[in-house]
């Protein structure tokens, strides 16, 4: 019986030129890299109560600046209790709490120990400004440009949502939906003000 030599056995791999094999491996590697990067991005955990809030900067609307600055750097508020309220002009429930927020801000503002930040979530600047004007809101407010801030707190943000941060920059309370009274806000803020 004659035996076929190994050279005469044609395999698909031996028929593919080296440069094609290299391209295939590079393409596969690239595809896996893209998938891994996407998965990694999706799996970045949202901040939870008890965790330190990462750094972010809010570009503020004209007339709604903080300490004369047109933007607010979160780390500059260390030592103060911070209330971060996400809202939008198209959001009807936001209107329910808008005046409560402003009333609370006016209550805490003189002490200088609490800072309110309003973040206009996915809105048009004109509508956002009109909303602020309509509810006579005076605390710092700015847009969530390119949706960079909201995913830190909630990837599936639904306005209104409010996040309260203590003097050490740690997230201490989350309120999904509108506040219904000034007292509800005070119940969250007052204990944090006692802490040093």
């Amino acid at each position: 019986m004659t035996t076929p030599s190994s050279e005469s056995i044609p395999t698909l791999r031996s028929r593919i030129p080296l440069w094609v094999q290299i391209i295939i491996w590079v393409a596969l590697f690239s595809l896996l890299t893209v998938l891994a990067a996407s998965l990694f991005r999706v799996q970045i955990p949202m901040i939870e109560i008890g965790q330190e809030v990462p750094e972010f900067t809010v570009p503020l609307y004209e007339g709604y600046g903080y300490d004369g600055s047109a933007e607010l750097v979160f780390s500059s508020l260390r030592g103060k209790v911070v209330l971060i309220n996400f809202w939008a002009s198209w959001c009807v429930p936001c209107e329910d709490e808008a005046s409560l927020m402003e009333e609370s801000w006016r209550f805490y503002q003189p002490s200088g120990e609490v800072v309110f930040i309003g973040i206009d979530y996915v809105d048009t600047p004109a509508n956002g400004m009109e909303y602020l004007d309509r509810f006579a809101i005076s605390y710092p407010n700015g847009p969530d440009l390119q949706g960079r801030i909201s995913p830190i707190f909630n990837r599936d943000m639904g306005v209104p949502e409010t996040f309260v941060v203590d003097r050490q920059g740690v997230l201490r309370a989350i309120k999904i939906g509108p506040f219904t009274s000034v007292e509800e806000i005070q119940v969250i803020l007052d204990p944090l003000l006692v802490e040093k």
Binding site: M1, T2, P4, L12, R15, I24, V34, S38, T124, G147
Partner: protein
Amino acid sequence: MKNGRIKFILGAVSILLLLLNLIPRTQVSAQTPVPPSDDEVNAIASELFCPICENIPLDVCPTEACRDWRELIRQMLAEGKSEEEIDLFFVENYGARVLGTPPARGIIWFAYILPPVAFVIGVVLLFKAIRPREETAAKQGAAIQQGPLPPGKADLSAVSDQEYRVRLETELKKRAEDN
């Protein structure tokens, strides 16, 4: 002489009327610019996605917020903004995710380059896989015409896969027994 004068007067009146006709049109077009039509607005809106209700193009999105964004597009068009400028505004405010056709940069670049590369590789592989079979078939035809091969030479082209596998397994078993 009289005809010439009449022609001159008629010509002068015609030119005057023509000029008078032009002046008001210029003034009207400067005072009341034509607002962008719904079609013009939707042509741009269809290339953008609603930033809050994902996967819904802005031109068909029924929410109040989307209506506001369409009005914003109309306003920007009326201000003379180009489609690129409007797209840029939306990207700066709501991120690149609102674009129907994401820009080919960063990781998104792979989404553009991988499909054509995979297609080319597929075509090359297909070509490489088909060509040897054609060559085998040609050899097989030639072998039939030439007659039997000299002793000691295996005519693989004429051997089916099944026969080849059986022969290979038999040979391997024999070698294993010898060892």
